[in-house]
């Protein structure tokens, strides 16, 4: 099967890095023999490879490492400045929080417990009244549903 130009160009790029398998290399050569455009592209790439040579090697300046060391020291100084670590205080904070919760719960229990204490009912009727909360609608307007219901509960209505 014939190789297309796009594939051939990609293969030329691979050839330049010695990445092409011999079988494909043969196919590429066959394509190059018959395709002037790809021949031209191949020549262009070889010329480019020749042109792009590595620039001259440079050497690090004498104080290269000193600059790095300076950065390290600056970083260490900054770290020391902001060295507060909240994880160090974690056990203390945890205990303090637990104690506060305990105190708050105890105080809440005592104060709410007092408030919820209902006066002891002395008679069975009082117990019934307190349990049913029969006076709940006492303040309602006379014709309201609440008042009528209240009267029904009190036995005033049949």
């Amino acid at each position: 099967m014939k190789m297309r130009c796009k594939k051939a160009k990609k293969n030329i790029s691979l050839t330049m890095d010695s990445r092409l398998k011999p079988v494909v290399q043969e196919k590429l050569q066959a394509h190059l023999r018959s395709c002037p455009a790809c021949q031209n592209w191949n020549r262009q790439q070889l010329w480019l490879r020749e042109q792009i040579k590595a620039p001259e090697m440079i050497q690090p300046s004498p104080d290269f490492f000193a600059h790095i060391q300076n950065k390290i020291n600056k970083n260490a100084a900054r770290k020391r400045l902001f060295s507060f670590n909240p994880t160090m205080l974690r056990p203390i904070l945890l205990r303090a929080a637990m104690l506060l919760i305990l105190i708050f719960a105890a105080w809440g229990g005592f104060s709410l417990g007092d408030r919820l204490d209902a006066p002891a009912a002395e008679t069975a009727a009082a117990v019934f009244s307190q349990t049913m909360n029969l006076n709940a609608y006492a303040d309602m307007p006379a014709e309201s549903f609440g008042a009528v219901y209240n009267r029904l509960l009190q036995g005033e209505l049949q």
Binding site: K9, K10, S13, L14, M16, D17, R19, W41, Q44, Q45, W47, L48, R49, Q51, I52, A54, P55, E56, M57, I58, Q59, P60, S61, F64, F65, H67, I68, Q69, K71, I72, N75
Partner: protein
């Protein structure tokens, strides 16, 4: 006789805060890292600054090195990422002046000097015009002699992506440098 410590041993000591080991590590890799960055930035001062930044990152992150790849691969990856970030930052700044290296010094006539200067300038511009990742792949393959597999690991891409990056880089370079090739051919006829 003191035995040479391996990179991994030196890195382990560096992670423990040993500055002498770190200095040795820097000495053995500074030239390679500096020249890789220089090929990318084409600016000596920027290359030095970035190389120092990279070694500072090595010092800071020595503990986080897991040893899944070679130290040099890790170092190259740091360098590549730093270069790509640098390019991103420099995007809106004007292009640096092209470097005139030893090419000019080797020339014999004034005419050749002009041609070489122009050629070098165009080559620099063409390389600078390439997208950052294509340029980096080309530098790693052509100048650093890295295999596709190594480039893939360093740039954190697949091997087929490396093939494509290199192909596109060469294709773009050819397109950018077409006028230069014509000019060189004309000059050859002229001289």
């Amino acid at each position: 006789m003191a035995l040479e410590k391996s990179d991994l041993e030196l890195l382990a000591l560096t992670a423990a805060g040993d500055q002498a080991a770190f200095a040795q590590l820097v000495r053995s890799h500074q030239s390679r890292v500096l020249n890789l960055i220089y090929r990318f930035t084409r600016d000596r001062q920027d290359a030095e600054d970035l190389a120092q930044e990279i070694f500072f990152k090595v010092w800071k992150n020595a503990r986080s090195f897991r040893g899944r790849s070679a130290f040099s691969t890790w170092l190259y990856r740091l360098a590549v990422n730093t270069c790509l970030n640098y390019r991103q930052k420099k995007k809106n700044e004007p292009e640096p002046l092209p470097l005139l290296g030893d090419l000019e010094a080797q020339t014999t006539t004034a005419g050749e000097a002009i041609v070489n200067r122009e050629r070098k300038s165009l080559l620099d511009k063409a390389l600078n015009a390439l997208p950052a990742r294509q340029k980096m792949a080309l530098i790693l393959a052509n100048f650093e002699g890295k295999s596709y597999e190594e480039i893939a690991v360093i740039m954190e891409v697949s091997i087929s992506a490396v093939e494509t990056l290199l192909f596109r880089a060469r294709q773009n370079l050819a397109a950018i440098l077409k006028p230069l090739k014509k000019k060189v051919n004309c000059e050859r006829k002229f001289f």
